[in-house]
């Protein structure tokens, strides 16, 4: 079985108001330099004596499609030339509506990308403006239609819980998204992160965040709409037509190994989690000087590894296999947490079957942190 490879593109046309990811608006020279550096690191990473067998590739950002299709094709070609790609491998690319058109998407498809994840976020112009998106609903719809034409495997990202959002506007976005017939939908609750313009707007009283109850209602609303349209929920925020679950992301939640390339990209290999230098300029310098790009690394012991395995697995509909994880970490998790497991079952927060603990989509998923904390050290 192969490994996942993540490639990070830390650039955007402009920074969204809610965004706390590693992305920035950068001038052309840095973008060129970075493109070369990523190519260089990919070559080094994959060009060892024993090639990695790669089953999924994910170009994420930022906005990978800030680069031309030729640029992206070039990087993918390096991967194909130096690694051994599974057949069929899942090769995803994230895109934003105002950086793609049908020709570019066709070119990406032709270059070997076979899954596109498009950041639509909302079909309400006012909400898009509030989020600081550079596109309107019309642009997003056009991009999604073009992507539908170009890709057999299309995913759309949307956001709920936006201040000012109503059940009606959310419903309109949900209907609009379903009408675009994507194979996969990621629906994220808006988190108001520190050090973002949105946080400042909330802190200053300019914006009123939605209550947890409304947030939960919107979540339920999405779950029902997607279920009715034939999508299965396989993770807290992810829905797919059968067979279209994102293999790359599933491997994260199964706590499997993966490679990371690019500024701030994370990797998990042989029980070691590492993170690359986050600043694109510093990252380029390190690559240029032949230095290691790793900024920090952590070797996990069995107990912490088990904690992560549970934390991640509980995000999925498949749940956490407590018997298997107990064997791995040498603790009897089921016995240790018997009280809380029983109470969660009684309250409909979780189900327990054949040694597997699953959070229920109705009540459990939204309490994931509260449950996961109980299982962490």
């Amino acid at each position: 079985m192969g490994i996942g490879l993540y490639v990070h593109i830390p650039f955007c046309i402009s920074k969204c108001r809610y965004c706390d990811f590693n992305s920035q608006v950068a001038a052309e020279p840095l973008r060129r330099q970075y493109h070369a550096a990523v190519g260089e690191q990919l070559q080094r990473l994959l060009g060892g004596p024993i090639p990695y067998c790669i089953s999924t590739v994910f170009f994420g950002g930022g906005t990978p499609t800030i680069y031309s299709s030729a640029d992206l094709a070039h990087l993918l070609a390096i991967i194909v030339a130096n690694g051994e790609l599974d057949t069929p491998a899942e090769v995803s690319c994230e895109a934003n509506p105002d950086t793609v058109d049908v020709d570019k998407l066709m070119a990406l498809r032709a270059a070997g990308f076979n899954r596109l994840s498009l950041g639509v976020q909302s079909l309400d112009d006012e909400q898009l403006r509030l989020l600081g998106r550079t596109h309107d609903a019309g642009t997003a719809l056009a991009a999604a239609a073009a992507a539908r034409e170009a890709f057999d495997n299309l995913s759309l990202d949307i956001i709920y819980g936006i201040p000012g959002q109503t059940a009606r506007s959310w419903s309109a976005t949900l209907d609009g998204i379903i009408a675009l017939r994507p194979d996969h939908i990621s629906a994220y609750g808006l988190m108001i992160e520190h050090d973002t313009p949105l946080h400042m707007m909330v802190a200053s009283g300019q914006l009123q965040p939605l209550s947890d109850t409304t947030y939960a209602e919107f979540y339920t609303q999405a779950q029902r709409a997607f279920a009715a349209a034939g999508y299965l929920q396989y993770e807290i925020s992810n829905f797919a037509r059968p067979g279209y679950e994102c293999r790359h992301n599933l491997s994260y939640w199964r706590n499997e190994s993966y490679l990371g390339c690019g500024a701030g990209a994370a990797a998990y290999l042989d029980g070691v989690r590492s993170i690359n230098i986050a600043d694109p300029g510093d990252y380029c310098a390190a690559v240029g000087e032949g230095r290691s790009v790793i900024a920090s690394a952590e070797q996990l012991d069995a107990v912490h590894r088990a904690g992560e395995t549970i934390m991640l697995a509980l995000r999925t509909a498949a749940g956490a296999d407590l018997i298997r994880i107990s064997e791995q970490c040498g603790m009897d998790l089921r016995a240790q947490h018997a009280d809380i497991i029983a109470a969660m079952i009684a309250e409909g927060i979780a189900a327990y079957d054949g040694g597997v603990l699953r959070l229920t989509p109705e009540k459990g998923f939204l309490l994931h942190s509260e449950v996961a904390r109980r299982f962490l050290v």
Binding site: M191, T213, A216, Y258, A265, A266, S369, A372
Partner: protein, 602 residues
């Protein structure tokens, strides 16, 4: 002349002051002028020797230091400076320390003037019959006229302006005059060298290597190494290993003679062997009677102390064993709670004492403790004719088995300016006080004599009294037996389970109100959880108050992909760390503060 110095050249005094009026700085300055301590070894505030005392600004343990002063009359004098704590929990300790003095410096900050605590301390000093020297300090602050304070001292206490000494502990101005005034005004110790030994223990301390150390003032006779001595409260005999003085570190001497202040080490294994207020005499040639005023150390409030993490039980036990060696008023015994696991029931002088002990245990032994709400000891008479003294409400017998409940009563003396009498009486009446009589003192001061249930005053009566009188009232109380009362146990249930550690005993008429108030308090301190949390107060099987926390609807971190995993795990772990001080009661997480919060009154 029997010691190194003639008895008439000894001056023993303490400094009484409002907090922050510069007591410690003045003490330091006196020490410096007497050349007992080099500036190099001088920490700020020599007399307070524990971090905790510094932080809280309270002196917990009295301390004594011996100085030598070369006076203008060409003679050398010995000064004994005795420090005192300042809270009602430690009133008894203060009274013993003052009893060991012949005089007191009444310190007033020129920028603050006479304040409530100045008055209260002045009163204590007068009660101890001390010669008082008023000292107006911080005169370097020239924007404050000295005259105002001098007038206050004259109006409030009748001190003629010329008897006050003006100082600046900061610049050293007036210190020489002060030392001369001490020589002139404070009388030398009375007492006879050839009378049988009477030495008052006014403080004690535990030293890991040497055992208990008694701080003494010799009132009659003398005490030397190798003497056989007896503590008069219980007739125990000990052989003296060493006597000496604090200068300010321990300096051994052959003998402590009449009038001298110092320490005695005599094979006492713990401070309980040398009780504050006890009289030491000679085993062979005993004094006829002890010095007056001794009281058995008496625990007034009790609470359960439990380790937050059950695995720390052993560490806590060890910590209590060690701590109790140094605190004669503290006692403890093991107990178990269904909610909290294994812990100890501990007895304290009062709430401040309890807080200090808890803090010291946590700090010095790196423990994380849960304290249950404090309780007094109740005397329960059961139908089978047995009498039980019960310190833990959870241990009360079933209502059906109880014939009568008695609670401890105190005799309380409240001294207050006349204009606050109404406020003091209202407060005391609200706390089920039984007014005895009112006594008029000189000036506009009165003493109110009350009988009050101890349970009503241990928690915050002192604080309430202080705020009702803008700090001017003083309180002293002592136990005055037990009295039958209509009391009930109020149980607290969380999700239907009785939580033993949250039970309280209440006056029946107050019980429902207390129950409602506790439910409200708990709702505030217990965070929302993934389950509904129902909090109920019940008397017997009757639920008298009830409240519920709706379950948490949402607690989730969005987006968890490759780069987020470590960060999110760490975030959750940190949040969990923040919850470590929670106790799991059934499936509900109850924070530590909840156990104490039930005491706060609305």
């Amino acid at each position: 002349m029997h010691g190194e110095f003639p008895q008439q050249n000894i001056r023993t005094f303490s400094i009484v002051a409002h907090i922050d009026h510069g007591k410690s700085t003045l003490a330091d300055r006196i020490l410096e002028y007497c050349h007992t301590i080099g500036e190099r070894d001088m920490r700020d505030q020599v007399l307070d020797d524990m971090d905790l005392e510094r932080e809280r600004g309270i002196t917990i343990k009295a301390s004594a230091v011996r100085l030598q002063y070369d006076a203008d009359d060409g003679q050398t004098y010995v000064f004994n400076l005795i420090d005192t704590p300042g809270h009602v929990d430690f009133n008894y300790e203060v009274s013993r320390a003052l009893k060991s003095c012949d005089g007191a410096l009444l310190l007033v900050d020129v920028s603050q003037g006479v304040e409530a605590q100045t008055v209260a301390n002045m009163y204590l000093a007068m009660e101890a019959d001390l010669e008082i020297i008023p000292v107006v300090n911080k005169i370097d602050l020239t924007q404050f006229p000295v005259e105002t304070v001098l007038e206050q001292l004259e109006d409030d206490f009748g001190f003629a302006p010329e008897v006050s000494v003006l100082t600046s502990a900061k610049t050293g101005a007036g210190i020489h005059e002060l030392l001369e005034a001490i020589v002139r005004s404070i009388p030398p110790p009375a007492g006879k060298h050839d009378a049988p030994l009477q030495a008052l223990i006014f403080d004690s301390k535990f030293d890991t290597h040497r055992g208990a150390l008694a701080y003494v003032r010799v009132f009659n006779g003398s005490i030397s190494a190798d003497d056989r001595i007896m503590t008069m409260s219980d007739g125990s005999h000990f052989d003296v290993d060493e006597v000496g003085v604090f200068s300010p570190h321990m300096v051994p001497k052959d003998t402590l003679s009449v009038g001298e202040v110092g320490y005695v080490i005599a094979g006492m294994k713990q401070v309980k062997d040398c009780r504050v207020g006890d009289t030491i005499t000679s085993a062979r040639n005993s004094a006829e009677k002890a010095l007056s005023g001794y009281r058995e150390p008496q625990a007034m409030v009790f609470c359960g102390l439990y380790p937050s993490d059950n695995v720390d039980y052993g560490v806590l036990k060890d910590a209590l064993d060690k701590y109790s060696l140094n605190d004669a008023a503290f006692r403890y015994e093991p107990e178990t709670s269904a909610a909290l696991g294994f812990g100890f029931r501990c007895g304290f002088l009062g709430l401040l004492h309890m807080e200090i002990v808890q803090e010291r245990l946590e700090r010095e032994y790196d423990l994380d403790l849960v304290a249950t709400a404090p309780s007094v000891v109740y005397r329960v008479l059961t139908n089978d004719g047995e009498v039980h003294d019960i310190e833990n409400p959870a241990k009360f017998p079933d209502t059906g088995a109880i014939a009568a409940i008695e609670e401890p009563i105190v005799k309380a003396d409240i001294m207050t300016p006349h204009k606050y009498v109404g406020a003091c009486m209202k407060l005391s009446d609200d706390r089920r006080g039984d007014f005895q009589k009112m006594e008029y003192l000189h000036g506009d001061r009165v003493i109110l004599h009350y009988r009050l249930p101890l349970a009503e005053i241990v928690v915050d009566y002192f604080d309430a009294l202080k705020s009702a009188t803008r700090g001017y009232a003083t309180l002293d109380y002592e136990l005055a037996g037990f009295q039958e009362e209509d009391l009930v146990k109020v149980d607290i249930l969380i999700n239907g389970d009785t939580v033993d550690a949250l039970a309280i005993i209440s006056y029946r008429k107050f019980a429902e109100r207390r129950g409602r108030s506790i439910c409200r308090k708990l709702k505030k301190t217990i965070p929302r959880q993934m389950f509904e949390v129902r909090i109920q107060a019940a008397i017997g099987s009757r639920v008298v108050a009830s409240t519920r926390h709706a379950p948490l609807r949402k607690d989730v971190l969005e987006k968890c992909y490759g780069g987020d995993i470590t960060r999110k795990r760490k975030l959750l772990e940190r949040q969990k760390e923040g919850k470590k001080r929670m106790k799991q009661v059934g499936s509900v997480e109850v924070p530590q503060e909840a156990f104490m919060s039930i005491l706060e009154l609305d």
